[in-house]
Amino acid sequence: MTRDRGEDARLIALAVLAIAALLILPGTLDFSTAYGLISAIPMALLGLSLGLIWGYGGILCFGQTAFFGIGAYAYAVWAVNFGDTTGAVVCAIVLGAAFAAALGYFIFYGRVSDVYLGAITLVVTLVLLQVMRRTSGPEYKIGDALLGGFNGTGAPPMRVPWDTGTMLIGPPLLYVSLGALIVCYFVCVAITRSHFGRVCVAIRENETRAELLGYDARLYKLGLFAIGGGLAALAGVLSGLAVTRVTPELFNLKNAATAIILVIVGGRGTLIGPVIAAFGIFYLQKSLGSQQTVNLDLVLGALLIGFVLLLPQGLVPAVMTLVLRRSGRRRDFKATRRGRRPGRAATRTGRGVDRDLQAAE
């Protein structure tokens, strides 16, 4: 809702923190961390895009990587053909959103249910993976860009829009990636607080009621899904730039699973959750290093199972409830919990409870 002072304050604090990180971080990091972060940030952005459509629209997309990969390929193809990387980024975002909209048209206007939505999107990304792996050979090219099958195609470095002689590689790319993540985060926050975003949440809560109020649920879901596709495509571009290559592996099951894990671990219904989770997993990956006894698949799998079974609401919401409880409102909090059972609530009305719930949201 638009009138929550506490949330405004939190957002401003976060913005200050983010800008400070943007100014200080790239200069202070050692090379390997900086290089690792350049690869981790696109995953955070991918998680954010899924957090937006799943957490705020209830759209359970298992194949967010489809748009991720399409964005990366679109960037590479455009940049190779036209040499203009700014246009390539725009092209990637537009194509990602358009592909999501086309897919979403089938899904939402066909009234495909949750599980089937997950199935279709997952299969789409896996088919794209298989198709792109088979594109080796000179006959598979778009304009001057060879698609390159298994090995993929080169992603030309991004150039400064107003000074096309300067390439953004190394630390400058970290600035660009981090900046893009921060901007996208606040764009997502703005979306969730807008009328459009509130209607999406309403549709997630009760689609029938939203329709009876005169909102066309299919159209809103389609819009949100397309925005998510555009964000994921941008993430794909950054991911390709990080390794200066675009390969079919962008579409793979592991990336698709990682996006889901980021949202589950971070918490559905928060935007910061998936981002925090992405950095957490980056840290984990870094500390696991290259040793052979425990690998990342194992850890990610265990994390996903553990959170689904034991902490299904995710880290950020869990921590927020814990903080609320710690800050001396234990009794009120318990009352809220009991009050959540419909039918008994009327006898437990209290102003403290109202305030708590508001803060918890």
Binding site: H195, R198, N206, E211, G214, P342, A346, R355, Q358, E361
Partner: protein
């Protein structure tokens, strides 16, 4: 002569039909829930649909709201053919709808629920003002920040009525608005419905006789998927056939 014609036309306009069905038939597999229903509602009217369980009133209601598409026949709202239209199309005409099961946004607050309705047709500031006003009208001001999922059944019904009211509808369709309410709550609900009727035409599906007497208005009796008769509550309850099929087993 010209003056008489003008008056006639004015009277006609005042008696304008706002909802009309012709030959509406709804079949589910081999079961016919509605058979050849011709129904008309005039502007400003408050009409109750009654009938024993399985009489077809709820199916008929769902055909009006776009939740079901009739097998045969047509539905028109203000002369616009809405047969087979989606619920959001019908709501978009300025029709407020409340379904039988409370259909609310459980995870959102009372205020937000109502705001989502007001905001559809109004700018942000106007929507906030209307929300505040509506929340007071349905007497939920004290708990306007509470999540609707935590409220008691009667309060949830009022949230839904508040959502209907905040949309400023000119036609309101309510399916069992007093279901599951205590007597006290029912009285207030009847009051709200009469208030809505000042600015809107209404169709109310209900089988609580006392409630229908409280909100008055004309009554259409459904029986076995057809319209059995129409009239005032007194006329209807005096009719022998109606007493046999519906009231009969009560008295």
């Amino acid at each position: 002569m010209a003056l008489a014609q003008k008056r006639e036309r004015q009277r006609e306009r005042r008696r304008q039909t706002v909802v009309e069905t012709r030959g509406l038939t709804m079949r589910f597999g081999g079961v016919t829930a509605n058979q050849d229903v011709d129904f008309a509602l005039e502007a400003g009217e408050l009409r109750c649909l009654i009938g024993p369980n399985g009489a077809g009133k709820s199916t008929f209601f769902k055909c009006l709201t776009g939740q079901l598409t009739p097998s045969e026949g047509s539905v028109a709202i203000r002369d616009i053919d809405v047969t087979g239209a989606e619920p959001h199309d019908i709501a978009g005409l300025g029709v407020g709808i409340k379904t039988q099961v409370p259909n609310v946004f459980d995870g959102l607050s009372v205020e937000e629920n109502v705001w989502l309705s007001a905001r559809r047709t109004h700018g942000a500031d106007r929507a906030w003002a209307m929300t505040a006003e509506t929340v007071e009208r349905v007497r939920l001001g004290d708990i306007r920040r509470r999540a609707v999922g935590t409220l008691a059944h009667g309060q949830r019904q009022w949230v839904e009525l508040g959502m209907v009211m905040a949309g400023e509808p000119w036609l309101v369709l309510l399916d069992e608005p007093a279901a599951g309410m205590t007597d006290e709550e029912t009285v207030f609900t009847a009051e709200l419905i009469r208030e809505i009727n000042r600015t809107a035409s209404l169709i109310v599906v209900e089988h609580d006789m006392n409630f229908i007497r409280a909100i008055a208005g004309r009554v259409t009796v459904f029986h076995r998927g057809r319209v059995l008769m129409e009239g005032t509550m007194d006329q209807v309850s005096a009719d022998q056939t109606v007493r046999d099929v519906y009231l009969g087993h009560k008295h």
